[in-house]
Structures are given as C-alpha cells and as structure tokens.
C-alpha cells in the first residue's frame, strides 16, 4: 500500500505576452506610467552600456566582458523591486540591476577594465562586488540575510545567479540554510538557458529550476524573465514576504542569452544562429516598448530622445574611464590586508626598487 504524502506545484507568472499585450490585469505599480518608463529607461541604459562595453573590448580597451543582452529584465526588474537599504548580491551578468541601484557606468567600466576601484561603489555601499567563482556568492547573500535577522533589521538580501550555478553545492547549501533559518533572502535564477556551451537540458534533469526550493522547504516559482513587469511583481512580492519574516523564495526567471557567453566566446561553435533568431522576438526591451506604444505611453520621438540621452551618458562614462590614470604598480599591495604586514612591505619596496631601476627617468 502506498499514499501520496506530499504534492507540489510550481507557478509561472507573466504580465505581458511576447507581443506586449497584457494577459490580465497588471500589478498596481504598472498603473503609474512613470514606473513603467523608469523600467524602460533602466533596460535601455543597460543595453546601451552593454553595446559600448563590447565595442571597447573589441577595440582592446576593455577586458573580457559578459554581455547581458536579452536578459536585462531579470536584473532591472529585480533591482526595481528592492529598497535602497536592501543588499544586492549579484553574479557577473547583472549590470542592469547594479546600474539601477546606483553603481555608475564609470565604475562598471573600471571593473570590467580590470581596475578593482570599480567595485568601490560611491552609491550602494553595502551592495556586494561581483563574485566570479560561480555560485560562491549565494551563501554570502544568506550571510547578509542572517546579519539582518540577528540585528532585527527589516531588510532583505537579493541574490542573482545563473542556471548553471544551480548545479553547484554552494547554491544547494545556501538555499538549504536559508530555508532552515527562514532568512530574509530572495534568490533569483537568471535562467538564460546556457552555461557557456552547456544547454539548460544538460544542466539538470529537473523539470524546473524553481522546484529546487521545494526540496529546501520554501516557495519556488517561475516568472517570464523577459517581462520586466512580471519580474518586478513576483520578486517584489517575495521581497516583501521576506521582509515580513516569511523566509526565502527562489524565483526562476526564464530568459535567453542572445549574445556570446563573454567576449572571449564564440557561441556559433556550439549553437546555431538560427536557433537564436526567434528569441529576438521575445526580448524584454521590445516587449515593454510594444506595450508602452500600444497604450500610447511611448512615441518614436520619446525613443529617439532616450537613445540620445543614454548614448551620451554612456559615452561620457567611457571617456572618463579611458582617461582614468592607471594605478601605480605598488597599488597591488594596497588591499590585501587592512594593514600592510612587514613581509608585504618588503615585497612592495622590492618592486619599487626594481621599477626605479627599470625606468630611471620616471620619478
């Protein structure tokens, strides 16, 4: 004899279909056109930044860069649902969210240009720098949430990682502990269907990534990750639940990586360009623009003005980046410890002595 002892469901939410038509009543914030325009601006700014970053990399003026083209709505929608006092713990493809929260394009250019001063955010000082070992930042987000909980602060940590990251132990461990301790943390999977060359189907046999939360005892759900309104609504609800003591949520945002993994990759080696083409009809800027145009909230002139404004802002940031003097060699010793140990001071002095010999005219 056997009984069913548990049953689970995974919901999928969307507000706009791929043609930009509302599929039902929109969330309350969408009634205010300013909110939607702000989201659209955030998406556009990210895409313009992205294009500039790739152009700089292609001309040898930026390091390897991970484009977020096609998945901007996950990042921007998530960040738009946060309060400024919440803490964002991003992976390396979340420029959209970082920009929306006040990280500057100059800081991002510096970071991707290899200058760690780019992580010294003037804006959101408690937001985390990018953690490059995939998934290793998931426990950090849980740790921030634990700090909030221990101090009884009504704040939430928000962590984004990719579909590939969900196969890592750090995500499993972070989800598990967040569940056991009911931590105020929201995990967002930006499921862009690829982890470098590995397609989603080969990442896991699980039907959804959202269902992984269920194994850890909390809510997991899917959202259309190309629908920024839906992302904001679903992530926003999860954040407020967490703030009220309702514990964590895992949100799988379904999107698509339209570009290469990074500028060091050529995706045509493992994926047909033809397979990508249909996704250009799904992408988040087009979708929101269609909705805004259809509902008379956005015109061609508005679009042109916005493009001009964003292009000018990003170009100015790129200029400032290119004009930023590089750090001197001895800067490598500046941030290993709060105070320089004797051995490191000796190594720094050695470096300075050698560079004086190598370049006697300088100084």
């Amino acid at each position: 004899m056997s009984d069913v002892v548990a049953r689970f469901e995974v919901e999928f939410s969307r507000c706009l279909d791929r043609d930009g038509n509302a599929v039902g009543p929109l969330p309350a914030f969408a009634a205010n056109p300013e909110n939607l325009i702000a989201l659209y601006r955030g998406l556009t700014r990210t895409r313009v930044f992205d294009a500039k970053a790739i152009a700089l990399q292609r001309t040898g003026r930026l390091g390897t860069y991970a484009s977020s083209i096609g998945q901007e709505a996950v990042s921007v929608g998530t960040a738009s649902a946060m309060r400024s006092e919440d803490v964002f713990v991003p992976s390396f493809r979340e420029h959209g969210g970082q920009l929306l929260r006040g990280v500057t394009p100059l800081e991002l250019f510096l970071y991707w240009g290899g200058d760690e001063r780019g992580s010294l955010f003037a804006g959101p000082k408690e937001d985390f720098p990018i953690s490059v070992p995939v998934a290793s930042h998931a426990p950090h987000a849980a740790g921030v949430a634990l700090a909030f909980k221990l101090r009884h602060e009504p704040r939430v940590a928000v962590c984004i990682f990719g579909d590939g990251a969900t196969s890592k132990g750090d995500v499993a461990e972070a989800l598990n502990m967040a569940g056991v301790w009911r931590l105020p943390v929201v995990f967002v999977v930006s499921n862009n269907q690829w982890a470098i060359s590995l397609p989603r189907a080969q990442q896991t046999a699980a039907e959804t990534l959202a269902q992984k939360a269920i194994a850890y005892g909390f809510r997991g759900e899917q959202v259309d990750g190309n629908d920024v309104i839906a992302v904001r609504a679903v992530v926003g609800a999860a954040i407020e639940r967490a703030r009220q003591g309702g514990g964590p949520t895992l949100i799988e945002a379904l999107t698509y990586r339209l570009g290469d993994h990074t500028t060091a990759d050529d995706a045509s080696r493992y994926r047909e360009d033809a397979a990508v083409t249909p996704y250009w009809q799904e992408e988040p800027l087009l979708r929101l623009r269609r909705y805004l145009s259809e509902t008379g909230q956005w015109s061609k002139t508005d679009e042109e003005r916005l493009q001009r404004e964003m292009t000018a802002e990003i170009a100015a940031a790129a200029d400032a980046y290119l004009k930023t003097p590089p750090q001197p060699p001895e800067a490598i010793f500046a941030y290993t410890y709060a105070a320089l140990p004797a051995e490191l001071a000796r190594q720094r002095d050695g470096l300075l002595a050698v560079s004086r010999v190598a370049a006697p005219e300088a100084s």
Partner: protein, 331 residues
C-alpha cells in the same frame, strides 16, 4: 598588574578556548558562533559546551552539514557588519570550504578595491594522535599559510588559546585559528585577567645557545621535551614557537638562528612544499652566513596518517627524531 590578573587557575587548553569564545560573545554583540554541533552537543571537541545555555541558539548556531555554505554565510555576515566565528570540525573538512576561504574571504578586500573587509574568524582542529585515521588527522594549516589575505594562527599554549581569539576577532581581516587535537586536554595555569595577545609575533619558549628548534602547535610540547633531553646531554636548545603561521615572524626566527647558528624545524605537516620548507628558505635568505650546519627538518612521514596507534605514532614527528636531528646539526 591588578590583583585579579594575578589570581591563577588551573585550566585546560579546551577551557581556555571556551573562555575566549565566551569573552568574545560577552564583549561584542556582533559576535556569534556557527558550526556543526556547536550547540547542544558542545562542539566536536567540546570547546563550546555550555555556551548555548548562556547565549541561546541565535548566537550559538548549529548549522546543517555544509562546510562551504556556512563558511560563505560567515563571509557574507562579516561583510555586513557582524563578527562571526565559524567552527569547522577539523581542517580535513575545511577542504570543502576552500573556495570560500581562498577565493572569497582572502580576496574580497582586493576584489572590492578596499570597499569590504572580511572580519571573520574560522576555528578548526588540526593534527593527529587521536587515532582518527587519515581523513580526520591531517595537518594542512601550511596550505592556508600559503594564501595572501589570510592570517593563520596556531596557539600552542593556554595563554594563546585564551588570548589569540581576542585579537583575531578584532582584526579587520579573515583569521584562521588551528587548534591541535592533542592540546585540548593539556592543562596549565592561567591568570584570571589573561587577555589579548599579539598575533604577529613568535615566542621563545625556552632559551638556549646551541640549536634552534622551530615549531608550532601540537609539536611544541614535543620540541620542549626534546630540549629537556638535549640539555641532559649538554646541548642547550632554544625553542621558538611560531604562534602565527602567516605572517611569519622572520625577525624572531632569524635572531634565534643567528644566535644558535643551527636550526631544526619541527612541523607535523608533510615536508614537501611545507611551512618547514618556507622557514628553511627564509633562514637561507636571511641568515645563511650565520649557519654552522644545514637546516634540518622533522616532519610527518609523507603518507596518509594511519589508524593503528603504533603506525600513527610512527608517521608523526617524535621526540627521539627531534633529538637526533638536533644532535645531527650540532655535530
């Protein structure tokens, strides 16, 4: 010195570790302890016994079995203003958290352009001698001492077990504390007012002129015993307790070797690519011309630490081997 500081109690190394934890929890509300079985069970080496009753489950936090996860949680909490103390049962399991320790805790100050430090303390047991077999008995602290961004401590005395954590918890950078399993039951006097001690200086535990025995952690009692035996044979050994494995206190090491002109390094780690090798190299670099004999090393045999007692002991640095090595360099 106050009257309270002069009062002396007989305590074990384990007690001293516990007093240090308790103190940190009392002094600073940002401090909490987290690890496997640290609560009701009292820690796998009984170090945190009684703390749950006193501080409650929020601050004495039993974790699921997730070394990488709770080390990462400690990092995140430290970056957000807390002062976590993470206990990992033994260094053998710290390998599960290597990415968090080496790629994250040690690099975040650098990777954030100085925006974030990681004021995290990670304590763990290390070493052999309790017949726990290869996967519980290794001495891997030398690996961690290789990594810039970390500070690595190996308290070998009651005072250091009591005082190093104090200084470590106030340090703005990640600090790893290695407690040798054979020290927990060792006992000795501790002044009631014993407090913070430096974490960047080695200490001379016994003065001598003829040879320097350079060691740390669980090997310190063996080196002291060897020095005693050597004294009986007319050789005065100086015993240097490294205390801190990163940064190494070259000054104390080299001053001792410059004086004795001979050095034997005693390290329970494996000798190839070891801390003992690093110390030997520094002696060559800095006091080569003072040496009267090649530097000698007494390390563990390069095998997984065996289970049966006689084989386990055969694999570890022992007093007779230290004595023999010292006599070898004294010639």
């Amino acid at each position: 010195m106050s009257a309270a500081a002069e009062m002396v109690a007989e305590v074990t190394y384990r007690d001293a570790c516990r007093m240090a934890l308790r103190d940190a929890l009392v002094r600073d509300t940002r401090v909490f302890l987290m690890g496997e079985d640290v609560g009701h069970y009292g820690g796998c080496y009984a170090v945190s016994k009684g703390l749950l009753e006193e501080f409650g489950p929020e601050r004495i936090r039993d974790t699921p079995l997730s070394e990488s996860g709770f080390t990462g949680i400690g990092i995140g909490a430290a970056m957000n203003g807390m002062r976590p103390i993470v206990e990992i049962m033994t260094v053998n399991f710290a390998l599960l958290a290597l990415d968090q320790i080496v790629n994250n805790a040690a690099t975040i100050r650098h990777m954030s352009g100085g925006q974030f430090g990681v004021p995290l303390v990670i304590r763990m047991a290390t070493g052999a001698g309790r017949q726990l077999a290869a996967q519980h008995s290794h001495s891997l602290e030398g690996w961690f001492a290789h990594v810039p961004g970390l500070k690595v401590l190996a308290p070998a005395t009651i005072e250091d077990a009591r005082g190093m954590l104090w200084t470590a918890i106030e340090d703005p950078d990640p600090v790893l504390i290695f407690e040798h399993v054979m020290l927990y039951n060792s006992g000795g006097p501790l002044a009631a007012g014993a407090g913070a001690v430096p974490i960047d200086k080695a200490a001379i535990r016994r003065a001598g002129q003829n040879v320097s025995l350079i060691t740390y952690g669980g090997s310190l009692p063996k080196a002291l015993k060897a020095a005693e035996e050597l004294a009986g044979q007319g050789i005065e050994a100086e015993v240097v307790d490294l205390r801190t494995l990163r940064p190494l206190d070259d000054e104390t090491i080299c001053a001792s070797v410059a004086k004795t002109r001979r050095a034997v390094i005693v390290d329970e780690g494996w000798c190839s690519g070891s801390l003992a090798a690093e110390i030997s190299a520094r002696i060559m670099e800095k006091v080569f011309w003072s040496l009267d004999a090649p530097v000698a090393r007494v390390c563990s045999a390069e095998v997984p630490i065996p289970y049966p007692e006689h084989l386990e002991q055969a694999a570890l640095p022992q007093v007779p081997a230290i004595v023999a090595a010292a006599k070898g360099v004294v010639g």
